[in-house]
């Protein structure tokens, strides 16, 4: 049974009934075409193995929409989309952009909630075809292409008894996830709270088209920026050098479902009990709608609370022991449904999570909070007015690790995200407005945001709060140094 199966099944039934509007008449667009001879696009196309598509091409709109993973397609149109086949292609594309005054953004899986890689001008470089995983078992390291999915990386590493703190959703590629810091699995134990601190080096194409290694030893300031600079990074990473860890023998876990009236107590346990668990126990809470209660019913009737706990451990016995302080709580007896003694692994985790976050119409926002009870009180006050058919808050305990010095400089005890999902395009505007209202109300308890999942479209003025003031300043200074001519777009709203 999937983690949030009740909710997911309902969604699945909806999806099956939804008709999919055709974006364009595709049948007329098949076959090969080329940029017009002598055009700028043709000049780049001549030099790369990848694909160059420009505004005005008959297949442009299909390409543009294909860049966004989810089904809500942001209404922004770059001048040129370049799907590269190699690091060499990236170098050519960046040089071309620099020579032609085009500003560059990068996408890989297109999972950015805000589709921040889509701008109305410039070049979008798609690195999703840059794949490959090379594992050095003895050194416990791996060299991985940006296009590799977190689930695939976990499977491949498991063959060598290794693991990496990948994203919780398996079809997210490692690249954007890591560059924005990475709220990943078991990061409290493995990587100082954020996945990017398990990155040893990156190979990056800089604004002048050079391919450089950046690590603590080489181009250390560039490495500083790559670890957290996210969509504001002034370069294209074409390879990640990862530090891996001994794979857990089992992901020992449990899931408890509570009625909505248990929310205060669940949040209190998250705040007061969960931080006492060992670092390799990961605990999250999600609130999702029950399948058999119609939309429009109040939260106390419709919403269920899912408490999910997983220990990344060497044995079942160790898992049982580590979960005990939580499972001893009187709260647990109030569960209306439960999955206990789950001997899981990454494969199962990813299958379950795929069901919880399917490919639909999405937006969301997220903040760091130290006081989850205060934050949840704000959410609770707003939930009755939520216009999105499905809206899921997720609260995850992050730990209290000091962060190493890098652009990734903001974290708090808890991560609080709120995801809106809808079925019809007409439902989008109200969902966005509601989400923005909730997160404006959360500001007094927020300690900044997570760049990868914050609502960059709705709150562009708050993007700087994803970084410490010093890191934000240094990132800007490094941009001036590494990209003096502004070949790369800045953060969303900056350029």
């Amino acid at each position: 049974m999937a983690r949030f199966a009740l909710w997911s099944r309902r969604r699945f039934l909806n999806a099956a009934a939804v008709s999919v509007p055709a974006a364009v008449a595709l049948s007329a667009c098949q076959g090969f075409s080329r940029p017009k001879a002598g055009s700028d696009a043709a000049a780049l196309q001549e030099r790369i193995a990848g694909t160059v598509v420009v505004k005005g091409d008959e297949t442009y709109e299909t390409w543009r929409e294909a860049m966004i993973w989810q089904r809500a397609k942001a209404n922004r149109r770059p001048d040129m989309i370049v799907q590269v086949e190699s690091a060499g292609d990236v170098q050519e594309a960046v040089r071309f952009a620099a020579a032609n005054g085009m500003k560059v953004t990068t996408r890989c899986g297109g999972h950015s909630m805000a589709a921040c890689f889509l701008r109305d001008t410039g070049m979008l470089i798609d690195v999703s075809r840059l794949d490959g995983i090379a594992v050095d078992k003895a050194a416990k390291t791996a060299v991985v292409g940006p296009g590799v999915f977190c689930r695939g990386l976990a499977e491949r590493l498991a063959e060598d008894g290794l693991a990496f703190p990948g994203a919780h959703c398996g079809t997210v590629p490692i690249s954007g996830f890591l560059l924005g810091g990475g709220v990943g699995m078991n990061t409290n134990a493995w990587s100082s709270g954020m996945s990017v601190f398990a990155v040893n080096a990156v190979d990056i194409v800089t604004a002048d088209g050079r391919l450089l290694r950046a690590s603590a030893q080489d181009n250390a300031d560039l490495f500083w920026a790559a670890r957290g600079g996210g969509p504001g990074l002034f370069g294209v990473v074409v390879k990640f050098h990862l530090q891996c860890f001994d794979a857990p023998k089992v992901i020992w876990g449990a899931t408890y479902v509570f009625a909505f009236d248990a929310l205060d107590e669940v949040t209190r346990v998250m705040d007061e009990v969960v931080p006492r668990l060992d670092k390799d126990v990961e605990t999250l809470v999600a609130i999702a709608a029950a399948p058999d209660v119609p939309f429009g019913e109040p939260p106390e009737k419709r919403q269920r609370i899912y408490l999910d706990v997983n220990a990344f451990v060497a044995s079942e016995a160790e898992g049982r022991r580590k979960l005990t302080p939580l499972l001893d709580q009187p709260l647990i007896a109030r569960a209306i449904e439960r999955i206990e003694n789950r001997a899981g692994n990454f494969d199962r985790y990813y299958s379950d999570n795929e069901a919880s976050f399917p490919q639909g119409h999405w937006m969301g926002d997220a903040v760091w909070v130290d006081d989850p009870q205060a934050a949840m009180a704000v959410l609770k006050a707003h939930m009755p007015e939520c216009p999105a058919p499905r809206a899921t808050p997720v609260l995850l305990y992050m730990g209290t690790n000091p962060l190493p010095d890098a652009a990734c400089s903001r974290i708090a005890r808890f991560y609080l995200a709120y995801y809106m999902e809808w079925d019809e395009p007409a439902e989008e505007a109200a969902s966005r407005a509601y989400c923005l209202k909730v997160f404006n109300a959360l500001k007094p308890v927020a300690r900044g945001s997570y760049i990868n999942e914050m609502d960059q479209e709705g709150r562009p003025q708050d993007i700087h709060e994803c970084y410490s003031p010093q890191a934000w300043k240094r990132l800007a200074a490094l941009r001036g140094q590494w990209d003096p001519k502004g070949v790369f777009h800045g953060f969303y709203g900056e350029s």
Binding site: A22, F32, S33
Partner: protein
Amino acid sequence: MTSKLPKAGIVAALVLLSGVGAQQALTAGKPADSATVVRELYAAFERGDMVALEQLIAPDATWTYYGPPDKLPFGGTRHGPKGVAEFFATVDETLENPVAVQRAFIVSGDMVAVPGTEESTVRKTGIRYKADLVHVFKVRDGKIVSFEEFIDSGKVLLAFQGDGSAGIGGARAASAPAAGGARRPVDRSAGKAAFTTCLGCHGNDGQGRAYMHAPDLTGLDAEYLARQLTNYRTGKRGKLDDAHGFQMVGRATAIPGPDGVKAVVSYITALPKPQAAPVANRPVPAAIRAIVPTCAACHGAAGEGNAALQAPALDRLDADYIARQLVNFRTGKRGYHADDVAGATMAASAQTIPDRKAIDALAAYYGK
């Protein structure tokens, strides 16, 4: 060694020059001499006979291609017949129209050195390279215990990285396009655009990725691919408890409309098709001797598929995937919908397979 031998004539001449028929020597009772074994190996490549080839490899053999394994997929050392088979599968996936030439067979005791050249087109970049090489074999008791390929792998690597300076002019493969320099034609089709959502799991060339539990799509017929995508889009495949199938529901639904499905299917069916599993050369294991004729009735005598009967090719799929689907068919996770007629037929047929052992045997027999 990265290719089948090109010209039967060269092999025949070499075999004749050696003064003894390779096949005859191998079946004569006592182990063949080193050169004969090596020549037979080349001859097996030429015939595309992986079964004969694997029989020439010692169980503890090492098979080394000197080159960075993280950059050249066939680089590094592999072990035993299985490793060698995997080596050639990788070569086949990444290179096309290989032409290999052996200049001499130099024998010293149990060692055989074969200087020559190899010429291939890298599928990913379209660049055709020609590299000098020496193959060094070590033979024991009629089997190859060690193989080393000393090749100009720097040149090969450049070709893989899309560096046109490694390419050769004027010697392009017959099937390569005439226009566009040393590359595949530029494909900006809606199908390639839509395939962007597929490639993270199914591979850049649709070759499948084991680590994503995603099958090889190449060589599957268009009707089958379109039918499955439509099944995923309409609730006829990809139940929540189909652990590796469910994720296809979102992906298939994200393809823009029926025309998008058509476009992505035509893109997939035009992708290079690596070799199918040599099912015809495989002995039928006793455990499934009674079942195979039932499979063959729809899927063809060698699992090649029959689009008219809505039966996909099995010899294009990897064994793990076949086994997983057989389990899905038997447990109501596939072929459960009344409108999925072909799936329902298969679900009924799958019920007649006696046990898990037979499922694994069927998967190994038909799969890659």
